[in-house]
Symmetry: C2
Subunit: 406 residues, 2 copies
């Protein structure tokens, strides 16, 4: 047992790239025992994000696959069917982001799995809900961003649609899947009932965007158009200083008046355009432009000190590099360096949330392809010579590390 | 009981604006009974996002506050202390995003609450972890975006930092808090243990960005710089067509070669810059520029049909308005129109995930300020004349609707 809140929960992870792996890593970080099922050539993410000291261990694979064990198996091989049936019978949770038609062919669809394990929680990560016309369409992060209005947020701000430069839809929907699974575990604990949950990327991201930007079209008849004007304002950016950028939030009167004082323009608090929350909302363009021009005379550090003193919320803007050097982040220990058995020293972005009474204490480094195939099949009840034969027939990959601690 | 997986779970919601309300609404949507504690003037979000048919019912407030009941109470009044103590003793979960020092003054800090209720799950939504130097700093969405590298993603793509035009950090961290609470409920069900969980926005968003963009600095010594080049490419945008934009993902050889065929340039699959995944990764700029120029000769609908036939993942680009008209979204019923007792007909963005064996069946419209104050205090054991006196002394607001169903 790992000590986390999900200690003892067994997860069978039939996912790849980001949406599934971020979900199962979060479950693993909180104590679940996760078996990552990979094809013999490994999760595509192993090669999608640049080079690594040994092959197929890309930075992004490392970021989303700690605390999991890898079973590399050719799911299309006839022998795989019996192995997977055993593993399904022995698990609490199954997470899949393989397309439903393929899962059906493999005997790993929700209905077949429920026959083997009535208490199973089956989380089906799909691109599009199966009761709508896009059900069979493939989903990729950019396609979801573009078709759910994420890219449209930029079009409203800058005139041109653009993707958020992160695998954002995958990442968010994977985090949502964790909620769904944890609630299903709670529900099962109280009722004994298993569950099948469909988590569609398109619907989840459409809901995310519409909750933000339905705006005055919420009302019928509409009281105006879509798009929260403060958010899609072209000037909604960190503000340039003498030596970089600063991030400011000055929404209440006290904060706005503090800002005016800081920049040596205290009279602006009596300017009818800026003297109240509704006035600044109505004149958001002028207010944002004023802010964008006001801070070029001092350094970011000097401004942060002034704003801190005047209770105006402010933080320095961080690049990826300066974020790694942030002193607060160092004090809370979010990013540590760990020794990986094959990749040498690697940065590990830790768990950001702190629990008083439960925490996973151990750490499993992101696995090589099939690193735990033999161990997992042994636990499932297979004899050593059977496992050896499966490896010889290339049904599984035995990727055990030679001479390295597990 | 509501029928959802969290049916019977009582939540005391001491949050405002977005990060807390999106968390507690998700709990409520899955069956929890949520009491929204508001100051007498109401949640700031009631006025932060434009006009509404009756005052203080802004579109964004409506988006994040269904299925909750409102108790409007002046927490600083001496009588409030006893009321809150009773409610804390009777709840399963408390979620707060009031600053820790203020909670302490009100007797609503985790330690004091745990004394009243040992099984309590206390989720503390904070801007910054309490064991680092930023612990007392105020947090707002833009400040978190700017200081955690979200804005830096754009700087890498376009040369200038910019916020994502959504209240994104709040929204994501609120969704993460749901995970944490659900896992704590499961853990409590098995062990009886209460829990205090600190969920800091800064650390959570820093982890989100670094998992995406640590890239070759994951390794020590680094194998290169930060920033996944496919994501921060300036051309990572929906592609212009004759009448709009289209979203394409063509990563595998089959997809890329299908794309070349679709645009009438099948010979490009033998071009050494584009003939394999590593070749296209190394020439990502040329590949993206080629794609950006190729599609102006046909309409989006014509291209989607062609790409569907060639198995190249593609979806039309949606604006906020066209997303509302999307036929798939209509078929799955994500957005419906409901009758609100005071705001008339409003759009309701429903729950995107589907459960086989548990679902909240009822729907509570987003409440007016203090709409349920009397009902909640009655349930807590207060007599009618005591409640009337509390309302007269303005300790609570009695916001019951006159002549409207509950």
């Amino acid at each position: 047992m790992t000590g986390g809140p999900l200690a003892g929960v067994r997860v069978l992870d039939l996912t790849a790239v980001v949406v599934g792996p971020v979900c199962t890593q979060t479950l693993a970080d909180h104590g679940a025992a996760v078996i990552k099922i990979e094809p013999p050539e490994g999760d595509l993410l192993r090669t999608l994000a640049g080079k690594s000291p040994t092959p197929k261990m890309s930075s992004k694979f490392l970021a989303f696959n700690r605390n999991k064990r890898s079973l590399a198996i050719d799911l299309k091989a006839p022998e795989a069917r019996d192995i997977m049936a055993k593993l399904v019978a022995q698990t609490d949770v199954l997470v899949a982001n393989i397309r439903p038609a393929a899962l059906k062919r493999l005997g790993l669809d929700p209905e077949t799995c429920a026959l083997r394990n009535q208490r199973l929680i089956y989380c089906s990560l799909v691109g599009f809900g199966q009761n709508g016309r896009y059900r069979a369409k493939p989903a990729y992060d950019t396609i979801i961003q573009g078709s759910t209005g994420v890219a449209a947020c930029y079009a409203r701000a800058t005139g041109e649609p653009r993707y958020v430069p992160m695998v954002m839809a995958d990442h968010i929907v994977g985090l949502i899947a964790v909620q769904q699974i944890a609630m299903a575990l709670y529900h099962r604990e109280r009722t004994g009932a298993g569950q099948t949950i469909e988590v569609p990327m398109f619907e989840n991201m459409a809901a995310f965007v519409l909750q933000q930007h339905l705006y005055l079209r919420t009302f019928e008849p509409p009281l105006g158009g879509t798009g929260d004007p403060r958010l899609v304002n072209p000037e909604a950016k960190p503000l340039p200083t003498q030596d970089g950028y600063i991030c400011i939030s000055a929404n209440t009167d006290a904060q706005a008046f503090g800002f005016f004082e800081a920049i040596g323009r205290p009279e602006l608090k009596d300017d009818p355009r800026f003297s109240s929350v509704p006035a600044r909302f109505a004149n958001v363009q002028a207010y944002f432009e004023l802010r964008a021009r006001a801070l070029k005379t001092r350094t970011t550090a000097a401004w942060v000190e002034i704003f801190d003193r005047l209770d105006v919320p402010a933080m320095p803007y961080h690049t990826f590099e300066s974020l790694l050097e942030d002193p607060h982040l160092g004090e809370v220990g979010l990013v540590t360096t760990v020794a990986h058995p094959t990749e040498g020293r690697i940065k590990n972005v830790g768990v950001p949330n702190r629990w008083s009474n439960a925490r996973r204490e151990d750490y499993l480094p992101p696995p090589k392809i099939g690193q735990h195939s033999v161990e997992i099949l042994t636990e499932a009840g297979y004899a050593a010579d059977t496992i050896r034969a499966l490896a010889e027939r290339k049904v599984i990959v035995d990727g055990r590390l030679v001479g390295a601690p597990r």
